[in-house]
Amino acid sequence: MTGVVVTRHNRHSRTWWKTAIGLVLTAIMLFPVYWMLNVSFTRDQDMRKSPPGLFPTDATLEGYRAVVDQQLPYLGTSLVIGLGTVVLTVALAAPAGYALAKLRPRGGGLLSFVLLAAQMIPGIIMAMGFYAIYLSLGLLQSVPGLIVADSTLAVPFAVLIFTAFMSGIPGELLQAAKTDGAGAVRTFWSIVMPMSRNAVVTVSLFAFLWSWSDFIFASTLASGGAHQPITLGIYQYIGNNNQEWNAIMATAVVASLPAAVILVLAQRYVAAGVTAGAVKD
């Protein structure tokens, strides 16, 4: 009886310092985010106080009032765009990653090469290209248009990540499936995809993050439209000669909160799933 208590106590005391270190590291990492939060509550006249206040002592909710009044509907748009981007990215990239990693296509190396080059095109040039194309096609200020544009941020990355992860899947497994008479599509769907869970999660995460925080495409392709992502809300506070920083920061806070919650929840689910999978193997 006492033995059990001791080991449990031991195990607990053995990991608590790791939690402590983890907390400290996270705090350091998130300090700039805290600073943003701090500024979002700061009155105009205190913004450049020297030395700066560590806490917003004379907090103002002016920034948030402006944001809540004007911006909340755009959160939904951002969510739809983010999820759309994730789906499109995975749908395009996972099969390509599988082919590049396992099917040794002729010209595959070249394709990876083109993917690399594609990522190097400066965002503003991409945005200008899309602008010209969408202007002619009448796709400006449309949600699907923005999903496609945002996916270009993630697709090359996703293909390369899928390739890297899928090349780790043992060849014998795929060979065995083939011997059992499974076709390429079947093998992909019931063996490769379930085994690539980590890659899918990683790719989805970044696809979502990129589209959520995208600014260049949003401002080039969606400004002035009925469906704007939340990041564009920032523009309401960037005047020609004047920027309302507490409202800008408040927009960023409001924009990142729901997504942060999604992240943490997703991460828990994923962590659970990954361990479960590991045990099963």
Binding site: T15, P51, A118, P122, M128, I161, A184, A271
Partner: protein
């Protein structure tokens, strides 16, 4: 047609690696001959969507950027579309520019230092977070929060914190008795400051990708090594590091591409200044093309294309290394 010509030089390789060689001669031969071709069809079937996608959405901007760099574009000819073809003259202009040498140096320093620190910190954190302790998953998720912020916000926050007079960093230094540093306004510090902010932004990416990579390493290997008496350090260098190599390689390569391209952070924090002291190719390209009331599209695009070429060179190196590893 392509497939038939390719068969002969492709087959020996398959025979060597594939299990088919051991089978009975005549049926095996026919399947061996057919299989690569059907596999090719399958492979390209899987690749078709992405190829089409690339052609549709990247080709035009890329073409545009190349075209811009090869013609003498003024604002007038940009609109009217009658810019004369000038070959490589824009590139020569760029090479001759006094900004070229410092920009090159800054780009190299910025990229190398950022990459090294991002990767090292990211890997250390990834190893740390693979251990199971309370809140590990939640904290790891929180590390991604910076990525939820548009760069305009995070970069502005950094320049806020690093402000010479009212920044928190100088206030903290003052508290421990160190004089103020002109982080963003001194030519000696500006590059350091933007590198610092860039490392901060890049760490989560490295953490997440490397962490996923670590998850894919079978736990059994560690147990076996532990039984053999390897300590944690040895396990890291003998198991983790080698097995993580493919993921590390792609992380570094992607990191390189993203770092070469970084412009928002630098632009928002220092505008490449003061006196070009934090100008990289990416900010220079933007400065030429868009940072002025009168855009110089040609030279701007030329600098941008130099970056594309640089990334391609590294991509080539990556593929060479990968192929060698694949063969060995």
């Amino acid at each position: 047609m392509k497939h038939t010509t390719q068969l002969p030089d492709r087959r020996p390789l398959r025979d060597r690696t594939g299990a088919a060689t051991a089978a009975a001669p005549s049926p095996a031969r026919t399947t061996a001959r057919r299989r690569p071709s059907s596999q090719q069809w399958a492979a390209w079937g899987f690749l078709a969507p992405v190829t089409l996608y690339l052609a549709l959405f990247y080709a035009y901007p890329l073409y545009r950027n190349i075209d811009l760099s090869l013609r003498n574009y003024t604002v007038r000819s940009f609109v009217q579309g009658d810019a004369p073809f000038t070959g490589l003259r824009n590139y020569l202009t760029v090479f001759d520019d006094p900004t070229f040498a410092p920009a090159l140096l800054h780009t190299v320093v910025f990229t190398v230092v950022s990459l090294v620190f991002q990767y090292a910190i990211g890997l250390a954190l990834a190893v740390f977070f693979t251990q199971h302790f309370r809140l590990s998953a939640t904290l790891r998720a929180l590390f991604l929060v910076p990525w939820l912020l548009p760069l305009i916000v995070s970069a502005s926050t950094w320049s806020w914190m690093l402000n010479s007079d009212s920044g928190i960093v100088n206030a903290a230094l003052h508290a421990v008795g160190i004089g103020p540093v002109n982080w963003l306004t001194s030519p000696d510090w500006s590059l350091t400051s933007v590198i610092l902010a860039n490392i901060w932004i890049g760490v989560p990416f490295n953490l997440v990708v490397l962490h996923s990579g670590l998850q894919s390493i079978p736990a059994g290997l560690y147990e076996a090594a532990a039984l053999d008496g390897a300590n944690a350090w040895q396990r890291f260098w003998r198991i983790t590091f080698p097995l993580l190599r493919p993921v590390s390689a792609i992380t570094l390569l992607l990191g390189l591409v993203y770092t070469l391209k970084v412009f928002d952070i630098i632009w928002i924090m220092t505008k490449g200044g003061p006196a070009d002291s934090s100008t990289t190719f990416a900010t220079w390209s933007y400065q030429l093309g868009f940072g002025n009331l009168l855009p110089a599209f040609g030279p701007g695009a030329a600098v941008g294309n130099l970056l594309v070429v640089a990334a391609l060179v590294f991509g080539l190196v990556y593929m060479r290394v990968q192929r060698k590893q694949g063969l060995s």
